[in-house]
């Protein structure tokens, strides 16, 4: 238990927000992908976060001193079940018999908002980490 915990926790937040940014960027990049890995149109992905359960060695050590702080971890990356967009484009190679193309259920506006949210949360974690670092060096000055 100490200030290093705060740095670890902020670090877990940074990792989580960075993954959110990566997945959102992946969604934006694949906004027009009609042939995903399984041959179907790409489906929008979303990161689900959860409070870390604290299974690491450090956290077990810390739990001896009843530390309730574990940070955040990724519960999983899930596909958005929202229906795909269907656009009339008979010239498209992936158009069906009626001339409709099934496009991914990615809405660029939603993705941009998610990107801003992830970016701001990342900054908040950076600030928290910097503050913890400052406090720790301030404490070390006591030893001089």
């Amino acid at each position: 238990m100490g200030l290093f915990d705060a740095i670890d926790v902020a670090g877990s937040g940074l990792a989580a927000e960075r993954l959110r940014m990566d997945v959102t960027a992946g969604n934006l990049a694949n906004a027009q992908t009609t042939q995903g890995a399984n041959g179907q149109p790409y489906r929008r992905r979303e990161v689900v976060l959860q409070e870390a359960s604290g299974q690491s060695f450090g956290s077990i050590l810390a739990s001896a001193s009843t530390s309730p702080v574990n940070g955040v971890q990724v519960a999983g990356i899930v596909e958005d079940p929202a229906p795909a967009r269907r656009v009339y484009d008979p010239g498209h190679p992936d158009a069906d018999a009626q001339g409709y193309v099934t496009l991914p259920n990615v809405n660029p506006v939603t993705e941009m908002v998610d990107l801003i949210s992830a970016s701001r949360s990342y900054e908040a974690n950076v600030t928290a980490m910097q503050t913890a670092k400052q406090l720790f060096s301030k404490t070390l000055e006591l030893l001089r």
């Binding site: 200030l3 915990d5 902020a10 949360s121």
Partner: protein, 117 residues
């Protein structure tokens, strides 16, 4: 009067409490996008004040964090307001630095009294 008097011991306890609070507030910020997360906090001022009133030992005083389940500020059930957490974080950091400064000054006074410098 012993070398480490009540002021020194309460300073140490306050530093411990402030450090714990810093970690909890950082945890809240890290979980700002976690659905259903409820913010944690610790009122170490109140714990310290009651310990000083009841004469409980300040050296072994343990702070117990609380989970605030009454607040929901977002539709996904997260109870964390990032603005408020950032403000509390900044406030707590200043308080911690103030405590460290006082602790440092007291150490200097003791050193001068002992003729170390």
């Amino acid at each position: 009067m012993s070398l480490f008097d009540t002021t020194q011991l309460s300073l140490e306890a306050a530093l411990r409490g402030s450090s714990l609070r810093q970690t909890l507030l950082t945890d809240n910020l890290a979980n700002v996008n976690t659905p259903g997360y409820q913010r944690k906090d610790v009122d170490f001022h109140a714990a310290l004040a009651s310990a000083m009133q009841t004469g409980e030992s300040l050296e072994t005083l343990a702070f117990s964090p609380t989970t605030d389940s009454s607040r929901t500020v977002r539709p996904d059930g997260s109870g964390v307001d990032p603005d408020q957490e950032s403000a509390e974080l900044a406030k707590n950091a200043l308080e911690y630095q103030a405590l460290v400064s006082v602790a440092g000054t007291r150490t200097n006074i003791l050193q001068i009294a002992m003729g170390v410098r």
